[in-house]
C-alpha cells in the first residue's frame, strides 16, 4: 500500500464549496446585486444572433445598423436578456429547478458591442408548492444596466427553488 499522493489526499479531504441559495434564503423585499458583470463583444453579439437563426440585420450588419441611426451593431436584446438572467443565476436559481415563466420583459436602451452589463434583482414573492413539497416557488424582478447605469432590460421571473431539506434533488 503506497502513501496517497498529495492530489489524492486533496480529493479525499476537500470540503465542498457550495454555491447558490435554497428556498429558505428568500424573503420578499431583499435585493441582490449580482456578481461579475459582462462586457458584450461584437463576437458574442453576432454569434448569438446567427446561432439562434435571427434574421434582423440590425443585429449582424453594421452598415444596416448605421443606416438606421445606430452608432454600431445593435446587440440582439435576447442576448441582453439572457446575459442579465445568466448573471443572476448563482444568487437566485442555481440550486433550483427550471425556470417556470417570465412576465413583463421590457427592453430599455439599445446595447452596442463594448457595453458592459450588470444585473440586480429584488425578491417579489415566496410561496410553497402544494403539489411539490420538496420545492417552493420564488418570483423576482431582475433589472439589467449598462456602464452608464441606463436600464437595458427588466423582467419578472418565477422559478422552482429547492428547499434545504428536500428529499429529491433536481441536480
Amino acid at each position: 500500500m503506497t502513501e496517497p499522493s498529495r492530489a489524492e489526499a486533496l480529493v479525499a479531504g476537500a470540503t465542498l464549496r457550495e454555491k447558490g441559495h435554497f428556498y429558505e434564503s428568500f424573503v420578499v423585499g431583499q435585493v441582490f446585486r449580482h456578481h461579475w458583470g459582462r462586457s458584450v463583444t461584437e463576437a458574442d453579439a453576432v454569434l448569438f444572433t446567427t446561432l439562434t437563426c435571427n434574421s434582423n440585420p440590425l443585429y449582424f450588419n453594421r452598415e444596416y445598423a448605421l443606416a438606421h441611426g445606430h452608432r454600431d451593431l445593435v446587440v440582439n436584446p435576447l442576448l441582453v436578456f439572457n446575459t442579465v438572467l445568466g448573471l443572476s443565476v448563482e444568487d437566485l436559481s442555481e440550486v433550483g429547478g427550471p425556470f417556470v415563466g417570465i412576465d413583463g420583459l421590457d427592453y430599455g436602451v439599445a446595447v452596442h458591442p463594448g457595453d458592459t452589463l450588470r444585473a440586480e434583482s429584488e425578491t417579489m414573492a415566496v410561496r410553497l408548492s402544494r403539489s411539490n413539497p420538496d420545492n417552493g416557488l420564488v418570483t423576482w424582478r431582475t433589472r439589467g444596466f449598462n456602464q452608464r447605469d441606463e436600464q437595458v432590460v427588466e423582467f419578472v421571473r418565477t422559478n422552482i427553488v429547492r428547499k434545504r431539506d428536500a428529499r429529491e434533488h433536481f441536480v
Binding site: 448569438f48 439562434t52 435571427n54 434582423n56 435576447l78 442576448l79 445568466g86
Partner: protein, 160 residues
C-alpha cells in the same frame, strides 16, 4: 451602393400583418451542445444542469437540459424572418412559459400568431404583438410567449 430595403424581404412590413394571421415558420433547428452549452456559458449562467453531463446522468432527466433562455431565443430566431426581419426594434415580451424540457438532439419548430397591430409614436413604423410558440419533434409545446415588435411601414421604408 445597396439600398437597405434590398437586404430584407418585402412581405413582412407593418402593413402585411393582420390580427388572427397564423404562421408556421419554414425552418426547424436541432438544439445541440453548440446552442445550449455555448450560449449558457457565454451568458454566465452557472447552473450546471445545462453543462454537466455527469451530474445529470444521476437525475430523472439522464442528460443535460437546454437552458430555457436558449430555447426561447431559438424559437424567436426561427420566427424572426417572417415577423421581425423588418423590425426597427424588439420592444419586449410577456407571458413566457416553458412547458417541457429540451435536451440535446431535440428539434424545435416555431409558430406565430398576430394578436394586435397598432400605431406607434413614430409615423414610419407600427407595433405588432405576436403569440409565439415552439414545438419539438414530437409536436409537444416547449415554449410559448408574447412579443412586441416595432415594425417598419412599407410606406416609409419600402423604397429606402
Amino acid at each position: 451602393m445597396t439600398r437597405i430595403a434590398e437586404l430584407t424581404g418585402n412581405d413582412n412590413y407593418f402593413e402585411d400583418f393582420h390580427v388572427g394571421q397564423r404562421m408556421r415558420h419554414a425552418r426547424g433547428k436541432t438544439v445541440d451542445v453548440t446552442e445550449n452549452v455555448l450560449i449558457t456559458n457565454m451568458v454566465m449562467n452557472t447552473a450546471h444542469a445545462h453543462f454537466n453531463a455527469d451530474v445529470m446522468a444521476g437525475t430523472r432527466f439522464r442528460e443535460r437540459l437546454s437552458f430555457g433562455g436558449v430555447n426561447l431565443s431559438l424559437a424567436i430566431g426561427l420566427a424572426s424572418q417572417d415577423t421581425s426581419e423588418n423590425a426597427l426594434a424588439d420592444l419586449g415580451m410577456d407571458k413566457i412559459r416553458l412547458r417541457a424540457p429540451v435536451v440535446h438532439g431535440d428539434t424545435l419548430y416555431a409558430f406565430s400568431e398576430v394578436l394586435e397591430v397598432r400605431d406607434a409614436e413614430r409615423p414610419d413604423a407600427g407595433v405588432v404583438r405576436f403569440l409565439h410558440c415552439a414545438v419539438n419533434q414530437r409536436d409537444e409545446i416547449v415554449f410559448e410567449g408574447e412579443r412586441m415588435v416595432l415594425v417598419k411601414r412599407r410606406s416609409h421604408w419600402g423604397d429606402k
